[in-house]
């Protein structure tokens, strides 16, 4: 099991836009470097990527939830 951590404080979004589909869902496969969401800090957006390949086990932060640096955003079951 690997954690995907928030690099920044701000607001976490699972979707690239309000009317868009989520980047990934629980149970989806992710590759190394794949984007799983974005963190908005002071109107700038930073992509959150997975460091490991595997399956998304669970998101620990809801869409547009607030995050602090180091917060676990999601856990990945390594492939």
């Amino acid at each position: 099991m690997a954690d995907i951590l928030s690099p920044l404080p701000g607001i976490f979004y699972r979707k690239p836009g309000p009317d868009k589909e989520p980047y990934v869902n629980e149970g989806d496969h992710v590759d190394v470097g794949q984007t799983v969401g974005v963190v908005e800090v002071m109107k700038q957006f930073t992509e959150v990527r997975s460091d490991t390949a595997g399956t998304i086990d669970k998101f620990h932060v809801e869409d547009s939830g607030t995050v602090n640096p180091g917060d676990v955003i999601a856990t990945v079951n390594e492939a």
Partner: protein, 451 residues
């Protein structure tokens, strides 16, 4: 107007509280959860929680904001800038609920929000606009003839676009037809309308604007400003009056902006924005902002007026408290936007707690900020920490005073853009008014190699 609801945060909420208090109007400020301990919440007579940290769930939540205004017994709403300030639907809902909306009518907000309609209104009022096609473009030979008449380079713009979206540059005739086709397809997909028009392209333009004040019948101007110093289309340094502007151009943009305000029966403060080409001495309409602007203090410094007071008086009493003759201009003013960003690290936002906050003082120096020492700079909102506003009798003296004042600023706890502002104020291009809206991007040493 007895009790005013302020649907905003930070420095502009503080700014509105100050003017309201001097007029004997009570204030209630909207706050999100992290803003309950903000300086604005402490200064106001009261505050109301409108939602959690994300602006979409608090400051942008129209029904929560309106409910808070009604519930707190307010009889008027001031939207500040940003958030709901240019939302015609929200303005209409406020009026519908029986409250006074401190701003122009929903119809005026809507008109100016539509690029093509705004351009038409400007043309009818005699506001200079860039040479371009009348309405949507033609086909084949007609299109090429229109292109030739305007000259190259030119831009293809989507009628329903705006804010820099839906614009394509064409440098020669051979690319015109194909670019128009692509632009029409994109415009249909992005904006639901395939209408595009052609407009002359201005390369190294300055950004100048005219402050107007209307009461729905008559309108006056409060002079002009220059906001050419920008990074990624965000203003960072503004001044008034606009320097190095020929008298004929200044008169034309001021008078025609007043005419535009009269024709759309504009009520309240508004700003008509222009591109100005210093080589051809041509000014052209960009858009009209239907709200109080961030940079309004430079106009206050050279006119001696309190623009928010005038705005509240017009909204409350319905008639212009001032005539054009009563507006006098004196001296020169600069505004510097101090942001919580790290210029050494690609202007990365820098939230945190302000351990130390020393502001400059002395003659002609003013600070507008929503923070005090010990305040937390939350990561959820924009990075504006404070506006340093400096006045002096001449532009040269105002630059010297600005450098002195910037040197007194001490901020600890977050990174700030202070080094960039100090470098800018010493640039010969600023002194000689040779800067333009792409100056920062084209001067990488100012940005530590990062744009």
């Amino acid at each position: 107007m007895q009790r005013l609801f302020i649907a905003n945060r930070g420095e502009i909420a503080v700014r509105v509280i100050r003017s309201a208090r001097e007029l004997g109007i009570e204030t209630v400020v909207a706050v999100s959860e992290p803003d309950e301990k903000s300086h604005a919440a402490r200064l106001a007579d009261g505050y109301r929680l409108v939602g959690p940290a994300p602006a979409t769930k608090s400051y942008l939540d129209q029904s929560a904001v309106l409910a808070a205004a009604l519930d707190s017994g307010c009889d008027a709403v001031h939207p500040g800038y940003g958030f709901l300030s240019e939302n015609a639907g929200f303005a209409a809902a406020v009026i519908e609920a029986g409250l006074t909306w401190v701003g122009p009518s929903p119809e005026a907000i809507e008109l100016m929000g539509d690029k093509a309609r705004a351009r038409d209104a400007a043309r009818r009022a005699g506001v200079p606009i860039l040479q371009g096609s009348e309405g949507a473009v033609g086909h084949g030979e007609d299109l090429l003839a229109e292109g030739r008449q305007i000259g190259y380079p030119l831009v293809v713009k989507a009628s329903a676009g705006g804010g820099g979206r839906g614009i394509r540059l064409v440098t020669s005739e051979q690319d015109l037809a194909s670019t128009v086709e692509v632009a029409q397809a994109e415009a249909r997909a992005a904006f639901g309308s395939a209408d595009v028009y052609l407009e002359r392209f201005l390369g190294r333009a300055r950004h100048v604007e005219v402050q107007i004040l209307g009461d729905g019948q008559d309108a006056i101007h409060l002079g002009d400003r220059d906001c050419s110093m920008q990074r990624r289309q965000q203003k960072i340094l503004e001044e008034a009056p606009a320097p190095a502007l020929p008298d004929a151009v200044r008169d034309r943009i001021r008078q025609s902006s007043v005419e535009l305000a009269r024709e759309c029966r504009y009520r309240g403060l508004g700003t008509v924005e222009f591109l100005y080409d210093p080589e051809s001495h041509e000014a052209a309409f960009i858009e009209m902002n239907t709200r109080l602007q961030v940079e309004h203090p430079v106009t206050e410094m050279i006119t001696g007026l309190d623009l928010v007071r005038e705005q509240l008086l017009v909204a409350g009493e319905g008639t212009l408290p001032l005539s054009q003759d009563q507006v006098q201009f004196r001296g020169h003013a600069f505004e510097f936007r101090l942001n919580a960003e790290d210029p050494a690290n690609g202007f990365m936002p820098s939230p945190g707690t302000l351990e130390r906050l020393d502001w400059p003082g002395g003659p002609g120096v003013r600070i507008d900020s929503g923070f005090v020492a010990g305040s937390a700079v939350a990561p959820f909102y924009d990075s504006l920490l404070a506006k340093l506003i400096v006045w002096d009798a001449s532009r040269t003296e105002a630059i010297a005073r600005s450098l002195r004042a910037l040197g007194e600023v001490e901020v600890e706890g977050v990174k700030t853009t202070l080094p960039l502002l100090q470098a800018l104020v010493q640039r010969p291009e600023l002194r000689d008014v040779e800067h333009h809206s792409k100056f920062l991007e084209s001067t990488p040493e100012l940005l530590g190699g990062t744009v």
